[in-house]
């Protein structure tokens, strides 16, 4: 069963088309990552799905209810962690959670009990009575997440939950997401990090210019995208051509040459085996290199690849 179903969503702000006919489905109990650069339409998508923004066209159902016709029912079934911190900065963590518990119509006693549970779960008990304004970025995010989980909503939306966090705070958020999914929550998160999508998500939807340009499980997408590459960084510009020729002969797939970075790269279809082949070929040819690495494609390269493919298809 699909918990999120978006069909042909369109939203225009002036001259910019934030959503240009976006389709997306998220099955129950999975993590779906919406991956894309700034301005791709990720936040607009989350705002439409959480009833904060009305789409110009298209339909979306969340937890079985239409976001336009039954926003109240949708709101009762979702949690949202937006990009901006959405907790009260003047109040303490405990006061915030009790406040949001009351606004979820818990009794005062239950709101307090729930606040304690969440403070413990997100390791905020020690700072519970300090004003949120004194919290670190990671603590705020955790409190934000806790506030979204008051009622254990079946669907949770996280808009760039780790942007601007240090690696440790990021790991804490990842852990929390995994625990939620293990408990049956459906999660949709947006991210600019390929690695994050790769690590957390069952399915990834790559969004550009308000449209899904590729979707599927991360491993299949990666295979689709020409997978990892072996990169050889040369000692000098003069070596570039010879290295490229050597790699062309040794490995399937054309080498890409970046003269500015003194870099030659080839697709690593067999990963470590390809790396070994490259090293052997360089040694046989009597070539030296400053660096040889096996690397996953960056988001930039993914987009380059996808737009290239679109141009070829057109």
């Amino acid at each position: 069963m699909n918990v999120i179903e978006a069909d042909g969503l369109r939203k225009r702000y002036g001259d910019t088309e934030a959503l240009a006919g976006l389709d997306l489905t998220v099955p129950a109990g999975t993590v779906s990552a919406v991956l894309g650069p700034n301005g791709a339409g990720k936040t607009t998508l989350v705002r439409v799905l959480t009833t904060l923004t009305r789409p110009d066209a298209g339909t979306a159902r969340v937890a079985g209810h239409d976001v336009r016709r039954e926003p109240g029912r949708v709101r009762a079934r979702i949690g949202l962690v937006g990009q901006a911190t959405a907790v009260d900065e003047v109040l303490g963590g405990r006061e915030n959670l009790v406040l949001f518990g009351r606004l979820h119509h818990l009794s005062p006693a239950r709101a307090r009990a729930r606040a304690e549970e969440l403070l413990t779960r997100f390791a905020l008990t020690g700072a519970a009575d300090r004003p949120v304004a004194t919290y670190s970025g990671g603590m705020r995010r955790r409190l934000d997440l806790a506030a979204a989980l008051i009622l254990d909503p079946p669907v949770l939306f996280l808009d760039e939950p780790t942007t601007g966090l240090d690696p440790r705070a990021r790991a804490t958020v990842h852990e929390a997401v995994r625990a939620l999914v293990a408990a049956g929550t459906t999660v949709l998160l947006t991210t600019q990090y390929l690695e994050e999508a790769d690590r957390l998500a069952d399915t990834v939807a790559i969004v550009d210019h308000g449209r899904v340009v590729a979707a599927g499980p991360p491993h299949r997408l990666r295979a689709d995208l020409g997978a990892d590459r072996v990169e050889v960084v040369c000692d000098q510009v003069a070596d570039l051509a010879r290295v490229a020729d050597t790699l062309r002969a040794a490995v399937a797939g054309p080498p890409r040459v970046d003269p500015e970075a003194l870099r030659v790269s080839v697709p690593a279809a067999d990963r470590v085996a390809t790396l070994a082949t490259v090293l052997a070929a360089l040694t046989d040819a009597g070539l030296t290199a400053a660096d040889v690495t096996l690397r996953r494609p960056t988001l930039d390269e993914v987009f380059l690849h996808l737009t290239d493919r679109a141009q070829v298809a057109a």
């Binding site: 904060l52 709101r75 959405a86 900065e89 009351r102 119509h105 009622l151």
Partner: protein
């Protein structure tokens, strides 16, 4: 754990009360801004009453401080717009308003909660200022009933300022712009009968001052408290109480729907 959201006016009122409680907690956590807003009008009473008051003449005679205080009561209500604006604009600029909007609560409950807190703030401001007024020799002369009616008119003006403040805050969504508002309330306050009689102003300005919504409330309060009036004749002066009811209602009727539209406009 699932709690079905109950909707309906009673739940919405409870939500509004919860949000009013949130604002009161802010006052406890950060008392300084509230104390300043409560004491600033007192400072003005002392400045105008004692520093400038000696040079002021009340048209038709009478004590200047008796003349001044109804003006200060109304000014305090006007200043209230800054409190409303800052609170609403701060929430809108951060993600807090979005969080409220993603909760299963009536949207009007958020505004009603704010209005509840600001109404309490207005009552506190009036109480402090009444205390100060009595201390400097001001009195009401026509009975408690009329004095309460005057207080009601003052709170009605403040209610209009709540609505206008919410509208402006949702329009600009920039809490730092309150500085502009703080400056702009002054010409509005001075181009009225709050401090001096409009007849002492140049003709066109006197007309503006006579018709200023603030003047209507001030004149009506002077009438109901039995304090010396500005002695003006003409339609606005003769119908001060009616105008003091009509002006705030008109402001609410114009700004209210615009504020609601802005609130809905957050959907975009």
């Amino acid at each position: 754990m699932s709690v079905l959201p109950t909707s309906g006016p009673r739940t919405a009122l409870a939500d509004a009360a919860t949000l009013t409680g949130r604002a009161l907690r802010h006052w406890v956590r950060q008392p300084a801004p509230v104390v300043i807003t409560l004491l600033f009008p007192v400072l003005l009473v002392l400045m105008f009453g004692y520093l400038l008051g000696g040079a002021m003449a009340v048209p038709g005679g009478g004590d200047y401080r008796e003349f001044l205080l109804p003006g200060m009561f109304a000014m305090a209500m006007l200043f209230g717009i800054e409190t409303t604006y800052t609170a609403v604009a701060t929430d809108a600029a951060r993600g807090v308003t979005d969080r409220f909007r993603s909760l299963p609560i009536a949207r009007w409950a958020v505004v009603a909660g704010r209005a509840g807190a600001d109404a309490l703030h207005a009552v506190a401001a009036l109480a402090v200022l009444f205390g100060c007024a009595l201390a400097v020799g001001w009195q009401w002369h026509l009975g408690v009933g009329r004095a309460l009616a005057a207080a009601g008119l003052l709170l009605l003006l403040r209610l209009a300022m709540i609505v206008v403040g919410v509208h402006l805050a949702l329009l600009l969504r920039a809490p730092e712009s309150v500085a502009a508002l703080q400056i702009l309330v002054w010409p509005l306050g001075f181009a009225s009968n709050a401090f001096v009689a409009p007849q002492t102003m140049p003709g066109w300005l006197a007309t503006v001052a006579e018709w200023n919504p603030l003047s209507a409330t001030v004149a009506a309060c002077r009438e109901l408290f039995g304090n010396p009036g500005w002695g003006g004749a003409g339609w606005p002066a003769d119908h001060a109480v009616a105008l003091a009811v009509a002006w705030p209602l008109l402001l609410i009727a114009v700004s209210g729907p615009l504020a609601v539209r802005r609130w809905r406009g957050l959907d975009r």
